[in-house]
Symmetry: C2
Subunit: 418 residues, 2 copies
């Protein structure tokens, strides 16, 4: 941290007020926000944020998937911008902070730099990415995935909501179909500030999570086929109860995660039982498996352990067990330069910090493919997100923005041009 | 067994042919039968069986719930009849043997007695009870439950099918609303012959099951309430996963049954998971529990063991567990005179036998309330019933009818008048 800026802080009240003003667009009765991607409300939100950006002297550009870049010039126009941001679309019953915080923290950093007439060597850009939530149009993280080249623009354009309206048509309708080719933008580095959406920081009483990466994810379905039979006339010894075998394997999903600390996670979220009758022994049960860990190697070891156990159980119980892959997401390891800059900024500010991993996806997952990337987490109440009661304390919100401010001050001076 | 009748046997071919002829009414393409209670096909089946009865010299009477009694006079008109029978309605995708066998085995016994001009001291009545299956009108075992006084005639009359047609209207329509008050009939004893509908006899290579009684049943729902949370950001140690607790308790249902040999049975047939999303830790799970055992005391001990375990698990896991009663059916212990007579007849015939319990309900459950009652089981292929592929071997079908024949020969002479 440059000595001259050591005492620099964002304006906590202004940042909070901006969050509340943006949350008023699509506000729900129960204190949440419903502002679906590319809806009229999304347009109103985009209009408000870009108006604020222009008021702060930023140059606004829009690319062909509707990602919006708000640029504050640097001393050196040849330097690629250091980028920060997130998204402003929400879940159908979303909260005020998910995504919106990352965008408005970036804007508050800009306003603070303006207040103090501080120039940076590299430009800073605040970005909001289109349709991060994926609630109206699949897949999620659409804008950042197209920007990174992971998803084609044409594929994203074709996505339709349940009423048959396409992403492209809705971009045109709300006036956010830009001309810039996605990914044409240079990015020196990308830092995203976000509420944790989990309970770890709150549980440990830590203010700042320095995100080391994003967990790799493996999704599959497991189907156990036993023998359907009447619950009354069939003695225990002559049963092939698919649900009992499934229950054993469901517990194995958790046992495997517990054997893979600290980042291994195992979840069974859905169960279908056939024939699903109170007095019939289930003949077939399908359940979902979600395994996560910090590296692809570690999560693949968890998958292998599950498959090995399923084989043994199938043999012992005399049932058939099928495992069908559904999806796989590579683990992401963020850039050490970014991670270190965030940690240094946190320490200089005197905030507590801990290394964390992100269990959920963020736009930063895709930016990590094309630029040095890092994330700053702040606590969220009870770890609850994607919910109208999602909440973060104003003090924590300001702290995360201060970490972003000082991280950007370092990166705009130091990071290698790209 | 009276020495003079020791060599008496039913006519296997005639019995089999009657089963096939009755199964032709409502025959399905895949070899099963669809003959729902009080339908046109049920009327056709009733007409055929009563025509056969009249051909055999029996007197046919019908009561107000449509139960049909087909009486062969005895030497002593003051004696109450020994009754045998079952039902001729079927499941929507039923088989040829469930119920029908018990009725036609009784008719074949009559025909055999006629062939040999054998008179019995007490009369014999062959009965078919209305709507045993409960597939079209609830509850099941309607005719026998009204006969026994367990269910009111008015209540049964009001039952409607999914098209809103009532039992009473349908009885009138098909011409089987009789005048006799249900239960007015005297019954000296009741013996029901039935396919096992389970795998025990086949598995042990035994021909005749001497049924000691019907398992008591306790049905309840168990609901586990934990904490819904995202699968990614929530570490294992901070979860309250309702499904994992439920899986543990599902296995406890089976463990309790295994600790209650030989008749304890435990089944979880249905599971509902909320919110049922692949990447969300379940916040609430409800599953059904079906516990059975040979006496009410034993099955209630199983329920208590489950509740005690649920309390411990709830405390350990920090979740709420609710247990909601759904239904309870008392265990039935059949009459020792009937059980012994069936065992003696089986031994005299040189057939293998074993004591069994019925895990499923039968009309005999209700007859057991008003008369000495017993049941004879024969093997059914793979234990499969309520299915179009339900099958029994002709040799086994005849063997069960022979046991019935000699049991009735004993009971019509010896059992105390009622």
């Amino acid at each position: 941290m440059s000595a001259s800026y050591r005492s620099l802080r964002v304006n906590e009240e202004r940042l909070w007020q901006s969050l509340m003003d943006l949350a008023a667009i699509g506000a729900t009765e129960r204190g949440g926000v419903r502002r679906l991607a590319l809806s009229d409300l999304d347009r109103a939100g985009r209009d408000l944020v870009t108006e604020w950006a222009r008021d702060a002297g930023l140059t606004v550009t829009v690319d062909q998937i509707g990602n919006v870049f708000m640029r504050r010039a640097g001393r050196n126009p040849s330097r690629a911008p250091v980028m920060t941001g997130s998204h402003i679309d929400t879940q159908p019953s979303g909260g005020k902070f998910d995504g919106n915080y990352g965008v408005l923290a970036g804007l508050e950093v800009i306003r603070t730099l303006n207040d103090h007439k501080i120039e940076t060597e590299a430009p800073i850009e605040v970005v909001f990415w289109t349709n991060e939530e994926g609630a109206r149009f699949a897949p999620a993280m659409m804008g950042s995935s197209v920007f990174s080249g992971a998803v084609s623009l044409e594929g994203a354009y074709r996505a339709q909501d349940t009423d048959g309206r396409s992403v492209r048509d809705e971009l045109v309708r709300i006036g956010y179909l830009g001309s810039e080719q996605p990914g044409a933008h240079r990015v020196a580095a990308y830092i995203e500030t976000h509420i944790e959406q989990g309970p770890v920081l709150e549980d440990s009483g830590t203010l700042i999570g320095v995100v080391g990466g994003v967990l790799g994810i493996r999704w599959f379905d497991c189907t156990v086929t036993g023998m359907e039979a009447h619950a009354g006339p069939t003695p225990m010894a002559l049963r092939k109860d698919a649900l009992q075998v499934a229950a054993c394997l469901m517990q194995e999903v958790v046992a495997i995660a517990l054997r893979s600390p600290p980042d291994g996670r195992g979840t069974v979220g859905t169960v279908q039982v056939l024939p699903s009758s109170r007095n019939v022994i289930p003949g077939r049960v399908t359940f979902s498996v979600d395994l996560r860990n910090n590296t692809d190697e570690n999560v693949d070891q968890m998958v292998d352990a599950f498959k090995a156990r399923a084989e043994v159980v199938a043999r012992e119980a005399g049932v058939a067990i099928a495992i069908d892959p559904v999806a796989s997401y590579a683990a992401q390891i963020f850039n050490p330069i970014c991670i270190d800059a965030i940690a240094r900024a946190t320490d200089a500010l005197g905030y507590s910090r801990m290394p964390v991993v992100s269990g959920a996806g963020h736009d930063a997952v895709y930016l990590n493919r094309c630029a040095p990337t890092g994330m700053i987490f702040i606590p969220c109440k009870d770890g609850i997100s994607h919910n109208e009661i999602e909440h973060a304390e104003a003090e924590h919100v300001a702290a995360g923005a201060n970490v972003l401010l000082h991280t950007l001050l370092e990166l705009t001076e130091d990071i290698a041009p790209r």
